[in-house]
Amino acid sequence: MTDMADLPIWAALLVAFLVLLGAVLTLIGAVGLLRLRSFYERVHAPTLGTTFGAGGILVASMIFFSMLETRPVLHEVLISVFITVTTPVTLMLLARAALYRDRAEGAECLPVRHEVGPANAGPDPSQGD
C-alpha cells in the first residue's frame, strides 16, 4: 500500500482508466452470456473479455509495475499473447462441437451445408430460455 503513493498522478489515472475499461468490458461480455438468446450468439460474448478486457488490465499492470520499479516489467505480454492465441482455438472447437451436436439431433434452422451466401437469418435451434 505504501508504494502506491509514489506513483505520479498521471500514471495513476492511466492505470485506473485501463483497469476500469478492462473490467467493464469483461462484465459486458458476461452480461452478453446472460442476455443473448441462442448458443451461437453467446459464442461472441466472451471475446469482449479476452480481447480488450484482458488487454486493458494487463497493460495497466505493465504500466504500474514499470513505474514502480523504474525498469520495464513486460512479462504480462506473455499472458496477453497466450490469451489471444488460445481463445479463438477454444471457441472454434466449441462452435464446431455445438454444430455437430445440433446436426446429430437433426435440429431445424441450421444452415444448409453447401450453400454460398447468407444462409439463414432465423432464430437458432438451441434456444435457451
Partner: protein, 93 residues
C-alpha cells in the same frame, strides 16, 4: 492522492469482475445445454485470471502473475478438452 485513485478504481474493478464471474457461474449452473456450460466455464476462467492480475496490482507483488499465467493455461486446456468431449463422447445420447 494517486493512492486513493488507485485504491478506488481497483476496488471497483474487482467488484465488476466478481459480478462477471457470478454471471458466468449462473450460466454454468443453469445453462440449457452442455455447450453453454463449457462456454461459461471459459468466461469464468478469464474473469478469475483478471481478478488475480488486479489483486497483484493492488498488493504491489508480482507473485500473482505466475498464478494468473497458470490459470490462463489450465483454462484453455480444459475448455479444449471439454469441447473435444462434446464432439466425441456424447454422440449417442
Amino acid at each position: 492522492m494517486s493512492a486513493a485513485i488507485l485504491l478506488w478504481s481497483l476496488t471497483i474493478a474487482q467488484i465488476l469482475l466478481a459480478v462477471a464471474m457470478a454471471i458466468a457461474a449462473f450460466r454454468m449452473i443453469f445453462g440449457p445445454r452442455a455447450q453453454d456450460r463449457v462456454l461459461a466455464l471459459d468466461a469464468f476462467y478469464v474473469a478469475g485470471m483478471l481478478i488475480l492480475v488486479v489483486l497483484g496490482i493492488r498488493t504491489g507483488s508480482t507473485l500473482y502473475f505466475e498464478v494468473a499465467l497458470i490459470i490462463a493455461l489450465l483454462g484453455c486446456v480444459s475448455t479444449i478438452a471439454l469441447a473435444k468431449f462434446l464432439m466425441r463422447g456424447e454422440i449417442i445420447e
